[in-house]
């Protein structure tokens, strides 16, 4: 029983991180129809920015997280302006090739400065709480609280503010959005900024548990794609619920089946769910 609770807690941690990464990916997909393969690279760059600010400049973890969010948001906007925007009328395959190009570019730049070594980002607190036989490291608690606060904040932003509503409006009816005077470029930049910031916060949260290295975004990105396919492309609740499902499945599967298979479980689950419900768990599109 305790082992199960412990694994559920680990699953919740993983699921929170996956959910944050998948949210950004699904927002960009739902609004701009770009499958942003470079999203994993943004996640990785976020961790390096945090590592640089906290580890090399010696600033606090929190400052490092803010710096990572701001810089990666800016980087994501730059990708949109310089790469995806000029390709908006090109055949869809061009977006995908460009996104892979960006991914390789970011990895090469990071590797040029920091090499391929594994690095550690110190957690803000190494306290470990014990409660009812469970081990609760402070960082895992932080991940869960921060991820759900961010998701809640994003929800409020999208539903309750006029600026946030423009993102949803663009997803629900593009021409309708143009006709009320919503500026497509603004929405595109805002969406990329949000997705970049979410990815950077996710990697800064996860880095103290899981090392920092140039290829750290690969598996996370693959899983984020699994999650948004599972949850329904473009669906926000789908990304959150899908993230949790994959997180729980990995933690439980890794414990009860074998740790060696934990990365395969996400994909097995994808095949299983899609064969029952081919459109994903939630209806597609940003609601």
């Amino acid at each position: 029983m305790e082992a199960l609770l412990q694994q559920l807690l680990n699953g919740l941690t993983l699921g929170s991180i996956y959910g944050l990464v998948a949210l950004g990916l699904t927002l960009v997909y739902g609004i701009l129809h770009v499958p942003n393969f470079a999203h994993g690279a943004l996640y990785m760059v976020g961790a390096y920015v945090a590592y640089y600010v906290a580890g090399e400049l010696g600033a606090s973890y929190w400052l490092a997280m803010i710096a990572a969010a701001v810089i990666v948001a800016g980087l994501a906007v730059a990708c949109e302006r310089l790469v995806f925007h000029p390709l908006r009328n090109a055949p869809p395959i061009h977006d995908k090739i460009a996104a892979i190009g960006l991914l390789l570019f970011f990895e090469a730049v990071v590797q040029m400065y920091w090499g391929a070594d594994f690095r550690r980002l110190e957690a803000p607190s190494n306290t470990i709480f014990h409660f009812a036989g469970l081990t609760l490291p402070a960082q895992r608690m932080l991940i869960i609280v921060a991820a759900f606060s961010l998701m809640g904040g994003l929800h409020l932003y999208l539903k309750k503010t006029l600026a946030g509503s423009t993102i949803i409006a663009m997803a629900q009816n593009r021409e309708g959005a143009f006709l009320v005077g919503i500026n497509a470029n603004r929405v595109a930049m805002m969406t990329f900024a949000i997705s970049g910031a979410l990815a950077a916060v996710a990697s800064t949260l996860f880095a103290p548990i899981n090392l920092v290295y140039p290829a750290m975004g690969h598996l996370v990105l693959l899983k984020a794609f699994v999650i948004i396919i599972l949850g329904g492309m473009g669906s926000i609740p789908g990304a959150i619920v899908g993230g949790l499902i994959i997180g729980f499945a990995e933690a439980l599967g890794g414990f009860y089946i074998s740790g060696d298979y934990k990365d395969v479980i996400a994909f097995a689950l994808l095949v299983a769910i899609l064969s029952i419900k081919p459109t994903g768990l939630f209806s597609q599109g940003v609601r």
């Binding site: 423009t166 629900q172 009816n173 021409e175 309708g176 143009f178 009320v180 005077g181």
Partner: protein, 235 residues
Amino acid sequence: MLKLERVDACYGSFKALDAIDMTIEAGELVVLLGANGAGKTTLFNTVSGLHRPSAGRINVAGRDVTGAKPSALVASGVVQCPEGRKLFPDMSVMKNLWLGGYVHRGDKRAMQKTLDDILAMFPILAEKKNEAAGSLSGGQQQMVAIGRALMGRPKLLLLDEPSLGLAPLIVKQVFETVAEINAAGTTVLLAEQNAYAALKIASRAYVIENGRLTIEGDRESMLGNEAVRKAYIGA
């Protein structure tokens, strides 16, 4: 208010608008008659900036707006209520209307006042304000679409076939509403196939055929025109 000079628009190599010359004075209610595929929607989308003209010039209130972005046009008072409504189906009626005022977002008090006027005009929308726009009946959705356009406080309102697919009684209501909007000072360009009802509230009309304006005249001359009667009134 609106002046088009030799405007062409193409889809690929297909010329959907051919040398359109059109002038609409402030305060007029002008009808654009045309059969399916004549080019009405293309003309509207070209004026709204959704579609770039391949030749010619477009002027709004004396300013050249050729090639301007839709958002800039809405901000300068050219608002379209499109064919097929193009609402945000999963958002509430209220949210749809509120987004209609997006370009006036700096002035929430004026937005609220416009909203109150619109809800007074369409009381049913006040009742349904929290329901998803996509769940309303066709006529109610048309009211949301017109209301959303009015939230932009148009100087020139482009209405693309607002009567399409509505029951006769609702069509009558829609035309009455359009006449009211015009009487309150908004210039209106109304695309219609429902020629008789449209001409009743219009001051002038144009006929578009295969991307060209072929007939033009005031209400009486249009109602008396043999070709117009044959093609669009069926009498």
